[in-house]
């Protein structure tokens, strides 16, 4: 699990380079991505949470962290959010859907596709909910410049 979290960290940092995130935020992006994945794998591995629920809660954590960092670093939350959410994006689900579709196994394809859509909606819900929290909540420990 630790190895995977490190991989999530590395992957997120790599994508933040790709998206042109300023250099001083690389580590934060990586930490957000790593934390999201760690939480996700703890939830799926150690609790009775389904994949969808785990995705939802992990997204919740990722967006919370992004917003907190955004206030802390005085920069848009988008920077941490877009890169930090990557480990949770149901890329694997989409791959398996395509795979089962072309190998002529429609039942599995439907299952995987449906799971991917559920995960995507969990992400949507997580993002929308956390952005309803007013800014004040994150402003408790504002960085002084």
């Amino acid at each position: 699990m630790m190895g995977q979290t490190a991989a999530a960290f590395l992957g997120t940092v790599a994508f933040s380079v790709l998206y042109g995130v300023p250099r001083q935020y690389y580590v934060y992006c990586g930490l957000v991505g790593g934390a999201g994945w760690l939480f996700y794998s703890v939830l799926t591995g150690c609790t009775p949470c389904t994949v969808t629920e785990a995705t939802f809660f992990a997204t919740f954590l990722v967006v919370l962290l992004s917003r907190f960092l955004a206030v802390w670093e005085r920069c848009p939350a988008t920077v941490f959010l877009t890169t930090g959410i990557f480990p949770l994006v149901p890329g694997a689900g989409i791959y398996w859907t395509a795979y089962y579709l072309v190998t002529d196994r429609p039942a599995e394809a439907a299952d995987n596709g449906f799971a991917a859509i559920k995960a995507a909606f969990a992400i949507v819900l997580g993002i929308v909910l956390v952005f309803e929290v007013p800014d004040r909540f994150f402003r408790t420990k504002r960085k002084h410049r």
């Binding site: 790709l18 042109g20 848009p76 791959y95 398996w96 952005f131």
Partner: protein, 298 residues
């Protein structure tokens, strides 16, 4: 004296001269008005131009609609422009400004969807905050925006390497072994070389992403056949990750949450289209492999 003069003139001339003197007064008043208002009015246009420039940079590089609107508002408020209004869509900004001597300020900017450069978003955000603190004049703001627009991107090599690193990381994350990750690194690098070289041509996103998905699958099958990597699926999943449209996806969600349905829907559509096209590309390559070499992989 004057009155007498008036009386001595015939009616027409008197009326004419009266009108002339009235016009004179009127012109004087207007000139005074203009004298006191020309400068700020001239600046109004400059402020609106600068605000649109800021909005342009933000929109082009992956900011949410509400941020674009808010930044433009902030710049206008700070420089004292009150009666402007903006309409921001995912690929265009429409602005009208207050009446100035030269007429209304009205401008439409079409902004095609481009890749995300979050450093520019951060820079404009920082700039708008500094403008609010009164650190820049309007001229300096415009110069600063021009600098932000010219901010250099990452070099070819760094982009390609980070794509490879990202692919390797996500391959491992999704359950691949270390050899799989090494193979994913190679295909991630090759994928981004393809992405960067194809971006010079005008090819539709659909074709681009189908070919991208197929290209990645081709490389992964090849390295799998050559004995590099043992889990083909994980390799492919990892190395298609650089194609995943992260910015339109999250921004689309946020726009819809903010009530900007048109822009949000367009961005989500963009993201879903890319997702589907990549999946189609992967599927097509599997079918080709199956037809040419027979047998199903895995």
């Amino acid at each position: 004296m004057k009155v007498k003069d008036f009386h001595s003139m015939d009616g027409h001339a008197a009326r004419e001269s009266g009108r002339l003197s009235m016009m004179g007064v009127y012109r004087e008043i207007r000139e005074k008005d203009v004298m006191s208002e020309t400068k700020p009015k001239q600046d109004d246009n400059k402020v609106l131009e600068a605000a649109m420039e800021a909005g342009h940079i933000l929109l082009e590089n992956g900011a949410e609609i509400s941020r674009v609107e808010e930044t433009m508002e902030r710049i206008c408020r700070h420089f004292g422009v009150e009666s402007e209004s903006f309409f921001v869509l995912s690929n265009g900004i429409f602005t009208t400004g207050s009446q100035s001597p030269g007429g209304q300020f009205a401008k439409v900017l079409h902004i095609p969807v481009k890749g995300a450069r979050l450093d520019r978003v951060v820079a404009v955000n920082q700039l708008s905050r500094e403008v609010e603190e009164g650190r820049y004049s309007i001229e300096q703001t415009r110069q600063r925006l021009e600098q932000i627009r010219r901010m250099p991107g990452k070099s070819f090599r760094i982009q390609v390497l980070s794509s490879g690193a990202g692919s390797a990381g996500f391959c491992y994350l999704l359950g691949g072994s270390l050899t799989d990750s090494a193979a994913a690194f190679v295909s991630g690098v090759l994928l981004y070389i393809y992405v960067l070289s194809i971006s010079r041509f005008h090819i539709s996103k659909i074709t681009k992403n189908i070919c991208g998905g197929a290209w990645v699958t081709c490389i992964c099958i090849l390295s799998y056949r050559l004995g590099m990597g043992e889990n083909l699926s994980q390799m492919i999943m990892g190395s298609i990750m650089p194609l995943v449209p992260g910015v339109p996806f999250t921004n689309g969600i946020r726009d819809i949450a903010d009530g900007d349905y048109i822009s949000g829907a367009v961005r989500l559509l963009d993201a879903i289209l890319v997702f589907l096209c990549v999946a189609i590309g992967v599927g097509v390559m599997f079918i080709i492999y199956h037809r040419v070499f027979g047998g199903i992989l895995l």
